[in-house]
């Protein structure tokens, strides 16, 4: 409950600061916020678009949260998502039928997990700080996927995209004319699933204990290597799914943009969602929905208030900054 109040407070501060910044930059703050928070609810197309935007963020948020729970700082969701998307593209290349869908998940998740395993093994067996290693992996993935997308898998008819997902393998919109697919339900199901895993399984207990006191956990027979590997593995799965969905469930193009536009920034949005949601899977779900709303609103803000899209990114940054201050102030009073 206190966590929710914190998040609301940070939102309030961000809105206030944002209003000042917008005004100074020559934009109308009332119009900005109206288009961001009210307009999306005026049409079902907008609402479903917001939900579709939230879908991958739920998953990448879970990746970061799984790390936090284990006492780790896994900021590799960005790169793992790229690899997941690449997996979907590879599957489309290999199978021209409905088979491409399950194959996408298999290849995408495997690639994402492999990408997560590198920093995990480095941390587990060489003690390499995961902050640095995951960021490096993100950038390597960035260039690798761009390279593959623009060469091997590029679409001859539309060079700014990769080849498309075979039509029978696509996840189609639930309502015609909207962008919301079954992928949303996959993501929404993932959050309580992760929560359940952490609370009810033995490995969840081990991760939780080790995250809070790694020395006591080690003595109790929970080696740090197991903790790192499981945490990163599960995180890689969720980000991999996010990446796959960004291709297989992305109407109308069902392909990966060669500048990675459909996956860029999702990892960091996930971190934002995880922080707003206090690292709690159900909180992350709510936070991701909220972020989806904000980003959908930002598109309208661009059109109606002429404000650059990045304004919403700055708002999110302020929110996290305030959370980092406020939430930790409460921590101090324990």
């Amino acid at each position: 409950m206190r966590g929710l109040l914190d998040s609301l407070l940070s939102l309030a501060v961000a809105i206030a600061v944002g209003a000042v910044v917008a005004y100074i930059s020559g934009y109308n703050p009332l119009l900005v916020y109206y288009s961001m928070f009210v307009v999306p609810f005026t049409d079902v197309v907008y609402v479903t678009s917001a939900l579709a935007t939230a879908t991958p963020i739920i998953l990448t948020g879970l990746t970061f949260a799984l790390g936090l729970k284990a006492g780790l700082f896994n900021i590799g969701a960005e790169g793992q998502t790229y690899m997941g998307a690449l997996g979907a593209v590879i599957a489309s290349y290999l199978a021209a039928s409905a088979l491409a869908l399950p194959l996408s998940f298999v290849i995408g998740i495997s690639l994402a997990v492999a990408w997560a395993m590198a920093p995990a093994l480095l941390k587990a067996y060489r003690g390499v700080n995961e902050v640095v290693s995951t960021i490096m992996m993100n950038w390597i993935a960035y260039w690798l996927v761009i390279m593959e997308a623009s060469t091997t898998f590029s679409n001859p008819m539309q060079p700014s995209e990769t080849i498309k997902m075979p039509p029978s393998a696509r996840l189609t919109p639930l309502m015609p004319g909207t962008s919301l697919t079954a992928g949303f339900f996959v993501a929404v199901a993932a959050a309580p699933l992760v929560y359940w895993l952490l609370e009810r399984s033995v490995i969840g207990y081990e991760l939780t204990a080790a995250g809070l006191n790694p020395v006591a956990a080690r003595i109790a027979g929970i080696p740090q290597s197991r903790v790192v590997i499981y945490s990163f593995l599960l995180g890689g799965v969720t980000s991999g799914v996010a990446g796959v969905l960004q291709v297989a469930a992305m109407p109308p193009s069902y392909s990966l943009a060669t500048n990675l536009a459909n996956v860029y920034g999702l990892g960091f949005d996930g971190i934002t969602a995880a922080m707003l949601g206090r690292g709690n899977p159900l909180g992350i779900l709510l936070a991701a929905l909220f972020l989806g709303l904000m980003e959908e609103g930002a598109r309208h803000m661009q059109a109606l208030a002429m404000t650059p899209f990045e304004f919403v990114k700055m708002l999110q940054g302020i929110m996290i900054l305030v959370i980092a201050v406020r939430m930790l102030e409460l921590w101090r009073r324990r």
Partner: protein, 282 residues
């Protein structure tokens, strides 16, 4: 010349790393270097453009970094919160602010050339950066201030018990450290690349973190580390020019190099004992 380019490429990493060495030696970890660099690059061009002088732009970037460092320091030292989370917040905030700012101020999408009157001589900045590294080494190892800083990072209880104000030392070190990171950012936009983009830092803030470990928290060794990374950074442009390898592969090299170096070096590196642990008086 590859050598000069290596040195020039190494500077932003060196500055951020030396700054972070100062902060970490006092016991505070700031992973928000990436955000600080971005903000420094942006503020540098913005102020330098408006004021008509690159030097004023650099000074402004340095000052903004100092203020943000005070904020991070306050969070770490007085509120005693999770320093890693605060650092991530700094990165997110920096990225958002700069992306928005470039659009809002110059009405261009993510890329702005630095006007010629705001440029700063890259060689002068290079010399300055080396001087800063040398001065930092001297202060940390040969002065009483340095002893106080190191004590705050190794054993703050002991330091406090002999009257060292650990809080002020950590706040000061974090602030100055952050100012060097934003200074490095200004170098990127005003001296080295002559442009400001929404991701001009390209991971350099994190490479600087790797350099800190590589250097075993010694500012002089940080020079060596920065040069290694600078080499790969410069190399990627050369490989492109000579068409030896694909563009994307050359861009991957600095990150792969960092990863390998960091993987190889851990084990012999000894961080300050109280790094990242908030200090309580009673």
């Amino acid at each position: 010349m590859l050598l000069t380019q290596t040195i020039h490429a190494a500077i932003p990493i060196l500055l951020a790393a030396v700054g972070e060495i100062l902060a970490e030696r006092s016991g505070v970890v700031n992973i928000g270097l990436e955000g600080l660099m971005l903000i420094g690059a942006f503020v540098g061009v913005l102020v330098g453009d408006v004021a008509g002088s690159g030097l004023i732009g650099v000074a402004a970037a340095w000052a903004v970094g100092l203020l943000l460092g005070l904020l991070h320091g306050a969070i770490a030292v007085y509120i005693r919160g999770d320093q890693l989370v605060a650092g991530v917040a700094m990165n997110l905030f920096g990225a958002g602010l700069v992306a928005y700012g470039i659009q809002a101020v110059w009405h261009v999408a993510g890329y702005r050339q630095t006007p010629s009157w705001a440029l700063v001589d890259v060689n002068a900045m290079t010399v300055l950066a080396f001087a800063v590294a040398g001065a930092m080494w001297y202060i940390l190892s040969r002065t009483r201030l340095g002893v106080a800083i190191r004590a705050s990072g190794e054993d703050p209880e002991a330091a406090y018990s002999v009257g060292i104000d650990v809080f002020k030392i950590r706040l000061f070190s974090t602030a100055v450290g952050a100012s060097l990171a934003s200074f490095g950012g200004a170098y990127l936009s005003l001296a080295y690349l002559s442009v400001v983009t929404k991701d001009i830092s390209a991971g350099r803030g994190f490479i600087a973190l790797a350099d800190v470990v590589f250097a075993n928290w010694n500012p002089l060794l940080a020079i060596a580390g920065a040069l290694i990374f600078g080499f790969f950074d410069a190399l990627s442009y050369w490989l492109q020019i000579f068409g030896v390898a694909r563009y994307e592969v050359t861009r991957m090299l600095p990150y792969i190099a960092t990863l390998l170096v960091v993987a190889g070096v851990i084990g012999r590196a000894k961080p300050p004992r109280a790094l990242g642990k908030p200090f309580r008086k009673e």
